[in-house]
Symmetry: C2
Subunit: 634 residues, 2 copies
C-alpha cells in the first residue's frame, strides 16, 4: 500500500496514525533482537515502518533483508530509505529491484551524507547528484509502483542553512514525483509549524510527516539533538536537566514533553507522526501510551484476517491458509514463498502446490542444542513432556518446538481442557476454541471490517500414542460432527473426511462482501505440515546425546506416535472434542526409556513401551494432577 | 448422475426411493400442462424420471425437448428412452447427441415395437436388430458417459413368451454394458419375485427396478393390463370389480392394493420402485402417501442448494446465482445457457459474462394479452397495482409478471410487512427474510447436507416512485448495515456498495466443507436483471390498449420509477429494512392517469402525477387498510 494513501486515509477519517523508523543493527544478535522487537511493536499498530539505508556493502544488504523481513514475515508495510550520492546507478537499481521483489512499494529518496573525509559532497562518476535525480530515476524506472517520499528540513540541512534554497530543492523533489515529505527530528513545534506554512507558500501541497524522536536517556537526547543540529526549546532543558542522572525521571518527563509536542502538531491539523525509535521500544511506547493511541480492548488493533498477512511479493491477495502453521507463521511464509499464486477466496489450484523443502532457512528448530536444553529441560518420560506443555499453556515458558510464539490469548477459553489433556499424555500442539458469531470488533476473537461477525469451528491437533489412537479413532468415527486426519511420521494416514477439499474452520460475514474463509483444514497441506511437525520433534531429540533418555523418549514419540487433527464441525459446541477424549490416558506416563541392548541406534522406531523399564520417579511427579481425578472430572 | 449410483445409494442406506415415467403428450397445451405437473411432482422427491421415446419425427423431437426441459429447467435427472428398430444409426446418433447436450447421462435402451403393419419385426437396412446392439453402440460411442438400462419382462414379452430365451437376451444386454434393468408393469408380485430369482440364477447381478402402474380408473387399469398382457391377480379383480363405476373408490382401493404390492417388493430387499405415472399425478401421489414416502416437515425434500439446480450440460458445478431471478428460475437458466462456465464457490470470471438477449424464448411475459388481462385485471391507479401485489402475497393469485411461481413459503415470516409496504405504494417484487443459522434440515429454510447451519441476509427488492426514492436513499445511506442498488429503466444507477464484488446473501456451513454461498447480490447481474424487470412491466403494459389508463399507469411506473434492492448485512435482524421504510407512502395512490392531450404516445416517460386528475374511487378502495394506521403500526 502506498504511504500517500495511508496519509490520505488518516486525513479523511481524522484518526491519528503513526509510523516507526528502524536502522540496521551492527551485529547478528542485534538483528535477531530487532526482528523480535519489531514483531512486538507490530502490536502498537504502526501504519508503516521505515528502514534506513545502510550505505555500503554488507549494511546495504542488511537494509534490503530487513525490508524482506518486515514485508514478508512481519506483515509490516516498509518504506525503504535509499541514498544516491554514494552509489552508482547499478547499485541503486539493485536496491530498487530487491525492494520490488520484497513486495515493498515505498521508498524514501535521500541524497545521503557527504563522505566523512570530504568537506563537500561530490557525485560518483556515473551517479546521482541530488535526491531529485533519484526521484526522477525511480519514477522513470518503476512508474507508479513505488510511492516516493523525500526529506524536509524545518531546521535547515547539515550543509545548508538557507531556508529559501532548501524549499526550492524541496519543491524540485516534489515536482520530480515525490508524494510525501518526512522531516528531520525537531523539538521546536512553533518553528516546525512556521516552516510548514512556508512549504505551503512555496506551492508544495503533498502531506508533511513530522519526525518525532522520543527521549530515552538525557545523554542520548542531547547527543542526537546536537548531531542533527536540532534546536532544543529552553523549557525542555529546564525540565530535563535537573533530573538528568535519573533515567526513569527523564523518560517520564520526556514522555510528557514529547506527547505535548505531538498534541500541538495534531491540533494544527497534521494527522500522521513518524517516530524515530532508535530501534528501542520503550520510549516510543510511553509516548503512545500517554497519547492513548495504543490498541486497547475498546479500540483493538485492526486485523484484516485472523492471521498476520504477509506483504511479500504477490502475496497481498492471499487470504486463505491451512491452520497447521498457526503457531509457525514464518515457516509457512518461507515454505510457500516460491508459489506463483497464493490461495485466496477463490481457493484456486494453488491451494496445494509443492511446499518448500524442510531444510530451507528458518524452517527447522532454531537455537543451539545447549539453548534448547536450557529452554525445555531434559524430559525423560511422557509425564516430563506433558509437564512442559502444561507450563507452556500456563505461559511459564514462551516457546515450544511447535510454537514460535507464546500461547494465544484466545486459548484461554479452553486452557483447562488443554492442560487436562496434556496431563493425561495427549500432547497438544495446536488448537482453537469454537466461536459462534462474535462481533468482528471483538478484542480477542475479532478480525476483519467492522459490523461483521466471525466464526470458528473448534480445532485440536495433538500427538497421541498408537494405543490411544485406536480408541480415539473409534470414538471420533462414531460422532457425526467430528472429522479428523491422523498420520504417522512415515505417512500412514487415517481420515474420515469425505473429500480432500478444504474444510473452512474460520470464517467471517461482513457487510457487502462474500463470506471470508481465511483458515482451512485440508489433507495435502496437512501432509506437508506433518513432515515439518515430526522433523521439529526429531531435531529436538538431536539436542540430547545419543542413547540419553530424552533422546530415546523424543525419538520414540516421533517414530511411533500419531499426529492427529480433529475438527468439530458443529461450531455451536466448544466441548465436544474434549468430551470425546474423556477418560483416555497414556498408560506409561512415568516410564523412562532405556537404550536397547542390541545396539540398534540408527533412528529406526524404538518401541520404548516394549523394551524399557520404569526406573524411578521423574522429578515432576508431584506436579501432575492424579490421573484418576482428571478422568473423574472429565 | 448415473442411475446405477442412485440405486447403489438406496441399497446402501436401505432408504426406499422411486422414479417417475412420463411420455410425450400429443398437444402443445398438453406439453405445457405436463411441464407444470412435472414441476409439482418434483416436490414428491423422485430420484429421476424417464421420458419415453416418441418414435418418429416430431414426437422424437419432443422426447429430446422434454429431456432438456427436465434437466436444464426442472432440475430433474432424466433417463431418456431410446428405441432402435425403427431408426437408422444416424437418427440414433442424433438422439444421443441431443441427450448428451442436454446434460442427460442415462439412457434406457429398447428394441422398440414392431411396426403395426408387420407381423414380425425387421431391422432397418442400416439399423439395429436388438436392444443389445444399441447398448453396444452407446458404449462404443460414449464410453461411460451414459448409464444404460434395459427392459426386463417378468411376464414375457409381447412377441416372445419363452422365459429362458428372454433371460438369455437379458443376459446378453447386460453383458453388452447395461447396468440396470427396468421391468414392464405387473401386478403379480409372487411371479415377479420368482422371475428375479431366475434372473439371478442366470448370472445377472445388476439391480432390477420393478415398474409399478398406479390405478387411476377401472377402465384404464384393465386397458393397460390387457395391452401389456399383464396378469391381474384374482384378489385385485375381486376388490375392484364391485366398485368399478366409482372412480373415487377404485382409486382408494387401488392405492391400497398397489401400496401393499410395493411393501411386499421392498420386503424382498428391492429398494427402488419405478412408477408409470401415465402423465398424471394423483394416483401415484396417493400410493406414495399411503407408503408415507412423500416429503414431510420431519423428512423434508433434500435440496442441495436453496434454489433448484439445473442439470443442464456443464451446469452441475454451478452453485452461485444472483438473487434477482429467484422468482424467475427458467429465465435465468435460459439467459445464461450459452455460458462456458457457471459461477461456483470459486466465483471465477464467469460471474458476470454477457446475459442472453431478452427476446430469447421463455424470457418475456408469457400468456396472451387477453389471458394476462384476466389474470391481473385492469389496474388504473397505484392502489389497484398495490392491491394486486397484496393478493399475490395472500396467495389469492399465483403469478405476477415478475414471479412465475406462487409466493414462497419462507416469505410467511415477513408477509405482513410486505403487505404493508405494497399498501403504501412500495411495490415489492422479491424478498427473503433474515435467517441466523437454522439447521440445514429445517423444513422451510433448510438446504444442503445434514448437520449444517444455513443463513440469510434480509433482502428486499421493490419499485419505488422517484419522489419516495430520494427519501429512501437518504435513510439507507444513514444506516451502517444496509447496502442498496437502485436503477431506472434508462440505467441511472445509485448505490452505496463499496465494491462491485458479490455480497453473499445466503450461505451455509457444513461438516468438512468450505462455506457454501449460493445466492449473491452484485452490480453487473443486477443491471442485467434490471433490463428484464422493466421489460416485463412494459410487456404487461402492452396487454392494454394504447391510451388506456392501465397502459398509461404501467408505462409511467416503468419509465419513471426506480427498481431498488436493499440488503441488510446484519443477518441477526430481520426488521431493519422495514423500519427504515416506515411511514413512507406514495402520495397519489388513487390518481388515474389520463392520456396527454398533446398526442404524445411514443412510449417516452409520461409523468402521470403531473398531468392526470383524480377521476373517481377505484374499485378496490375499500380493501386497502387506512395508510395512517399502517404508519402508526409500523
Amino acid at each position: 500500500m502506498h504511504i500517500r494513501d495511508m496519509l490520505a486515509e488518516a486525513e479523511r477519517t481524522c484518526e491519528p496514525s503513526f509510523s516507526f523508523e528502524y536502522f540496521p543493527p551492527k551485529t547478528a544478535q542485534g538483528v535477531q533482537n530487532l526482528y523480535e522487537r519489531m514483531e512486538r511493536m507490530y502490536n502498537f499498530g504502526p501504519k508503516f515502518i521505515d528502514i534506513t539505508w545502510g550505505a555500503g556493502g554488507r549494511v546495504a544488504e542488511l537494509t534490503c533483508e530487513m525490508v524482506v523481513q518486515a514485508q514478508a514475515y512481519l506483515g509490516l508495510e516498509a518504506c525503504m530509505h535509499l541514498t544516491c550520492t554514494d552509489m552508482g546507478v547499478d547499485k541503486v537499481n539493485d536496491a530498487l529491484r530487491k525492494a520490488y521483489k520484497a513486495g515493498c512499494t515505498n521508498i524514501l529518496a535521500l541524497r545521503g551524507d557527504p563522505p566523512r573525509d570530504k568537506e563537500k559532497w561530490e557525485a560518483a562518476d556515473d551517479g546521482f547528484r541530488y535526491a531529485r535525480d533519484l526521484v526522477l530515476h525511480i519514477r522513470k524506472t518503476y512508474g507508479d509502483h513505488f510511492d516516493i517520499g523525500v526529506a524536509g528540513y524545518p531546521e535547515g540541512c547539515d550543509d545548508n542553512k538557507d531556508e529559501d534554497l532548501l524549499l526550492d530543492h524541496l519543491k524540485e523533489k516534489v515536482d520530480a514525483g515525490a508524494t510525501f515529505i518526512v522531516t528531520q527530528m525537531f523539538y521546536d513545534v512553533d518553528n516546525f509549524l512556521r516552516w510548514v506554512k512556508r512549504v505551503r507558500e512555496h506551492g508544495i501541497t503533498v502531506p508533511i510527516v513530522p519526525g518525532i524522536m522520543p527521549i530515552a536517556t538525557y545523554a542520548s537526547f542531547l547527543r542526537r539533538a546536537n548531531h542533527m543540529k536540532c534546536k532544543i526549546p529552553q523549557e525542555w532543558m529546564d525540565k530535563l536537566e535537573p533530573v538528568k542522572n535519573d533515567d526513569v525521571a527523564v523518560r517520564e518527563i520526556g514522555k510528557t514533553l514529547v506527547a505535548d509536542m505531538c498534541r500541538k502538531i495534531l491540533a494544527a491539523g497534521i494527522r500522521h507522526l513518524h517516530f524515530y525509535t532508535m530501534n528501542l521500544a520503550q520510549a516510543t511506547r510511553m509516548v503512545l501510551e500517554e497519547l492513548d493511541w495504543l490498541p486497547s480492548p475498546d479500540r483493538p488493533l485492526k486485523q484484516p484476517l485472523p492471521w498476520k498477512q504477509s506483504l511479500g511479493f504477490g502475496r497481498r491477495g492471499e487470504d486463505v491458509r491451512p491452520i497447521f502453521w498457526r503457531n509457525r507463521n514464518k515457516s509457512y511464509v518461507a515454505r510457500t514463498q516460491d508459489w506463483d499464486e497464493f490461495p485466496n477466496g477463490r481457493w484456486g489450484d494453488s491451494r496445494s502446490p509443492a511446499f518448500g523443502e524442510l531444510d530451507a532457512y528458518g524452517i527447522g528448530l532454531t537455537g543451539s542444542n545447549e539453548q534448547n536444553r536450557q529452554k525445555w529441560g531434559e524430559p525423560r518420560c511422557i509425564r516430563d513432556l506433558s509437564d512442559l506443555f502444561v507450563r507452556y499453556l500456563n505461559k511459564d515458558i514462551p516457546y515450544l518446538p511447535w510454537s514460535e510464539a507464546p500461547v494465544a490469548e484466545e486459548a484461554d477459553l479452553i486452557k483447562n481442557e488443554l492442560i487436562d489433556l496434556n496431563k493425561r499424555g495427549l500432547i497438544t500442539v495446536n488448537s482453537q476454541p469454537a466461536i459462534n458469531g462474535v462481533k468482528s470488533t471483538h478484542p480477542v476473537h475479532g478480525w476483519g471490517p467492522a459490523n461483521g461477525y466471525v466464526y470458528q469451528k473448534a480445532y485440536l491437533e495433538l500427538f497421541v500414542s498408537p494405543e490411544l489412537f485406536t480408541e480415539i479413532k473409534r470414538r471420533i468415527e462414531n460422532h457425526p460432527d467430528l472429522t479428523y486426519h491422523a498420520v504417522t511420521k512415515s505417512g500412514n494416514l487415517h481420515t474420515n473426511a469425505q473429500s480432500d477439499g478444504p474444510n473452512a474452520v474460520t470464517w467471517g460475514v461482513f457487510p457487502g462482501k462474500e463470506i471470508v474463509q481465511p483458515t482451512i483444514v485440508e489433507r495435502i497441506s496437512f501432509l506437508a505440515w506433518k513432515d515439518e511437525a515430526f522433523q521439529l520433534g526429531t531435531e529436538w531429540a538431536r539436542c540430547y546425546d545419543s542413547g540419553s533418555p530424552s533422546r530415546l523418549l523424543l525419538d520414540n514419540v516421533m517414530n511411533t506416535w500419531y499426529l492427529v487433527n480433529i475438527v468439530n464441525n458443529d461450531f455451536h459446541n466448544g466441548q465436544t472434542i474434549f468430551e470425546v477424549l474423556n477418560g483416555l490416558e497414556y498408560p506409561d506416563m512415568d516410564k523412562v526409556p532405556e537404550a536397547p541392548t542390541n545396539g540398534v541406534a540408527n533412528g529406526v522406531a524404538t518401541d520404548a513401551s516394549n523394551d524399557a523399564t520404569t526406573n524411578g520417579i521423574p522429578d515432576v511427579a508431584g506436579k501432575g494432577g492424579a490421573p484418576a481425578s482428571i478422568e473423574a472430572a472429565a
